[in-house]
Amino acid sequence: MKLNELTAHEILDLIKQKKTSSGEVCQAVLDQIERSDENVKAFVRLNDQASATAKEANGPVPIPIAIKDNICITDQEVTCSSRILKNFRPPYDATVIEKLKKSGAVILGHTNMDEFAFGSSTENSCYGPTHNPWKLDCVPGGSSGGSTAAVAANEAIWALGSDTGGSIRQPAAFCGVVGLKPTYGLVSRYGLIAFASSLDQIGPITKDVTDSALLLNIISGTDSRDSTSAPFTVPDYTKALVNEVKNIKIGIPMEYFIEGIDPEVKQLIVNAIEMLEKSGAIFEEVSLPHTEYAVATYYIIATAEASSNLARFDGVEYGLRCHPEKMRKNPLVDMYEETRAVGFGKEVKRRIMLGTYSLSSGYYDDYYLRGLKVRTLIKNDFDKVFENYDAIITPTAPTTAFKIGEKANDPLSMYLSDIYTISANLAGIPAISIPCGFSKDGLPVGLQIMAKPFNEEMLLRIAYSFEQSTDWHKRKVRL
């Protein structure tokens, strides 16, 4: 097997045995990028220091990593795949980058995403779409599609994504990799360019569950620079990697298996449940009665926060600045309008308008405030289930990866591809997507496991046990 096809823990073992070096691993990854990224288009920017860093790496985890284009790295351009942030180079590292650098990580570069993470296909990018390594005419999912595609194509050993409504898990499912959205507050958001502050979380995208635990160990923990980071003592997540699910009680929400779900996807989830049942897990049907309101609630809250978070992109301090040819109102307002008209893509404008509307006076109570109330109801649904169950299992997405362009003009159907992932963000709970099979036409399917806040250990344990009795995660794309 090629070095770049290995997992991080396999590589770390080899390095320990002095059978390879971080320099060699990095070179194998860079060679793969050279070979295949022309077709996959996972990366939007490569770090020209990656090789040099790898050769000098002396931290404990000198693994090449891909970073989503919304996480700040000192002096590296970061754009959220938007024209409006062109040439923006932050003078600071995100907390997760700081932690990675300390661990000896080799940062390969930034990966493609839906502009400002608004999307589920990585098509809404100023750099053009990323292609699914399993089938190049399909989307990789989104918004962290660049990161999941990079890992699936072995162009990175692992990657960081961000998840606001499923942006790690849905593309992980589409690309056949492991994607974990941690509990809100477990990983610092400092240096993550915000989409919806109350929902965003950075998380690991890896080839297997062990790597997920390893990477989570590196990036999680309280951060004094993020007031929303939880005062929580982080355990060693690799200790949760136990192949034992006997008597673990898992709920299957009936609201998740209704119309719209692809029968092939459904069958693979049923198979997965049976497999875990054989290992001793106890499954019961549960109800999350407010599920049907999740998508609407999400799009009110997320767009409201986004409309405010994106107000800073106004051409004054950094990024793009445009002036219209002829004066329209006054120089300042003209500059604002032209900069944002040119700088933002269609989906970004759509969401800013939606969010602005729901916060406007006269509408606030009916939309934003009501959204917050329903969010509480959704969270209560989960609390109630978790009184009696250790975890919840669902499909990650209702379908496999769709064709590039297929849903480009149908935003509503695009929004529905996050239907199973959105609730975890609204409730703030952790959720993981792991590979659980392939469709007949060779596209991966993901299984989602959700648990109580700060119980990532339960997710990892169930996921690890499942992984031990399957080999979906070992299937490789050859590009």
Partner: protein, 482 residues
């Protein structure tokens, strides 16, 4: 219609909004120094510049200051601390929103008592006070093709204090501001300097017929940079409103700017104020509850406030309310006074010296009492020398001047400058004899019974001895000799 009948007919209603910069060491949501007057944009960091990915973290000291203000203004302190975003586009606000407090301000339902001309006090309600971050400063005329922006001020902790519409005249507004500023200075939470912008005041004013239940249409007045300007602007507005109402026209609700040079207010273009701020809870700052013990601790650490001090000083030191009112204008002066009383029992005399000669010297030097090199004991030593007759009032004041300039003690100055009053009778008599000999005509007037002529001779004698004599003593000797 004459002025007097108009005044009877209408009532003026004023409410004030005061923005106060808190003097914390660092800004409200980042670690930048909270200082005034540095090079543009030198006191900034990614957080206060609102760079993408950065997050605010509340400065606990700013919160403590706000609680202090709330308690001093007799407000209810809301222990549930929640911030909101106020969204608007303007280059002085780098995030596109200001972090403020909307529906749950830290303080509400307070009051401040202001003294009225007749000696009574009036209660001015404090509707609310909330914490927020200050914006940056735009500089419009320094650059040929555009405006410049200085973000040093961005993120300075502010507390906005809003009164109920309880003020009934420009003078009351002025008095309220005076007491408010004094109270805030006592708390040592701000330097309250309107010129530097650390205290800013906007006013809402309307008029209504006396006894009318509803408020009239208001105007908001901005851009006043002194208390005097607030008073003038409100007087101007009061008259403007009256003129409009009396001519049978309607007042338009609008924001007006005070123009200091023209001494008038002018309407802002209405477009500039058509804002929907789209307030919503700030998701980057998790709401939390302040422990009652923290609030109690702040309450216990509150200093004596001006009105409490006024009462105590008049009671304890038997000084007049007028003297006490002057002394409490500066808590440092009040402390200086109280220190003096430990060294000298004549409190009235200490007041006279502080409110007279000492203030004169401070004003002349544009100094505060903190800048003084002399101690309370130095001053009381000086006063004693005057009372003992070693110095007269004139040489006493000179001595004070020299003491302030040099930092030397009273004794040293007297010695050095030879300022000690001449008390040797034989020396004084010799001077008087010389004066009598040189002023025949005046002496004759004295003999004719013209008492005022003595004053002239005393003056001559004082001049002869370069001010070191005792005028009273000179008077006696002159009478005796003539």
């Amino acid at each position: 219609m004459s002025q007097t009948t108009t005044e009877k007919k209408y009532e003026t209603v004023i409410g004030l909004e005061v923005h106060l910069q808190l003097n914390t060491a660092t800004k409200i949501f980042c670690g930048c120094a909270n200082v005034f007057g540095r090079d543009p944009n030198s006191q900034t960091c990614p957080v206060c510049l609102g760079l993408p990915g950065t997050l605010p973290v509340l400065n606990k000291k700013a919160l403590e200051h706000a609680i202090k203000v709330a308690l001093a203004l007799n407000c209810k302190v809301n222990p549930y601390i929640k911030f909101d975003r106020k969204n608007y586009f303007y280059p002085d606000i780098p995030k596109g929103y200001q972090i403020s407090q909307f529906d749950l301000p830290i303080a509400s339902d307070g009051y401040l008592m202001i003294p009225l001309a007749d000696g009574a006090f009036k209660r001015i309600g404090i509707k609310r006070a909330h914490l927020e971050e200050d914006a940056g400063k735009l500089i419009h005329d320094a650059h040929a093709t555009g405006s410049l922006v200085d973000y040093n001020r961005t993120g300075t902790p502010l507390i906005e204090i809003v009164t109920d519409p309880d003020l009934r005249s420009a003078q009351e507004a002025f008095d309220y501001l005076h007491i408010l500023k004094l109270t805030l200075q006592y708390l040592n939470v701000s330097d309250c300097d309107m010129e530097k912008g650390s205290l800013r005041c906007d006013a809402n004013i309307s008029i209504r017929e006396m006894g009318a239940p509803n408020l009239g249409t208001k105007a908001e007045v901005k851009n006043m940079n002194s208390f005097r300007a607030v008073k003038l602007a409100l007087e101007f507005e009061e008259n403007r409103h009256r003129t409009i109402v009396e001519s049978g026209e309607r007042i338009i609700q609008e924001t007006r700017l005070w123009n200091e040079e023209k001494a008038m207010t002018f309407a802002m273009r209405s477009k500039e104020e058509a804002h929907d701020y789209r307030y919503f809870p700030e998701p980057d700052l998790v709401p939390f509850t302040v422990d009652q013990s923290v609030i109690d601790h702040v309450r216990q650490s509150l200093p004596e406030l001006p009105q409490q001090k006024l009462k105590r000083l008049t009671d304890q030191y038997k000084i007049s309310e007028y003297d006490a009112a002057v002394i409490i204008q500066d808590p440092d002066i009040a402390n200086f006074f109280e220190e003096c009383t430990k060294h000298y029992a004549e409190t009235k005399k200490i007041c006279n010296w502080i409110n007279g000669a000492l203030f004169q010297e401070l004003n002349a030097r544009k100094m505060t009492i903190k800048d003084l090199k002399i101690t309370p004991q130095d001053l009381t030593t000086l006063i004693k020398k005057v009372e003992e007759g070693v110095l007269n009032n004139l040489t006493g004041k000179d001595t004070l001047k020299f003491m302030i300039d040099s930092g030397k003690s009273t004794e040293e100055i007297i010695q050095e400058k030879g300022l000690a009053q001449e008390s040797d009778d034989s020396v004084l008599e010799k001077i008087v004899d010389e004066i009598i000999a040189a002023n025949d005509k005046v002496v004759a007037q004295v003999k004719e019974g013209k008492d005022s002529a003595i004053g002239f001779l005393v003056g001559q004698a004082m001049r002869k001895c370069q001010g070191k004599g005792n005028p009273k003593k000179f008077g006696e000797i002159i009478r005796r000799r003539i």
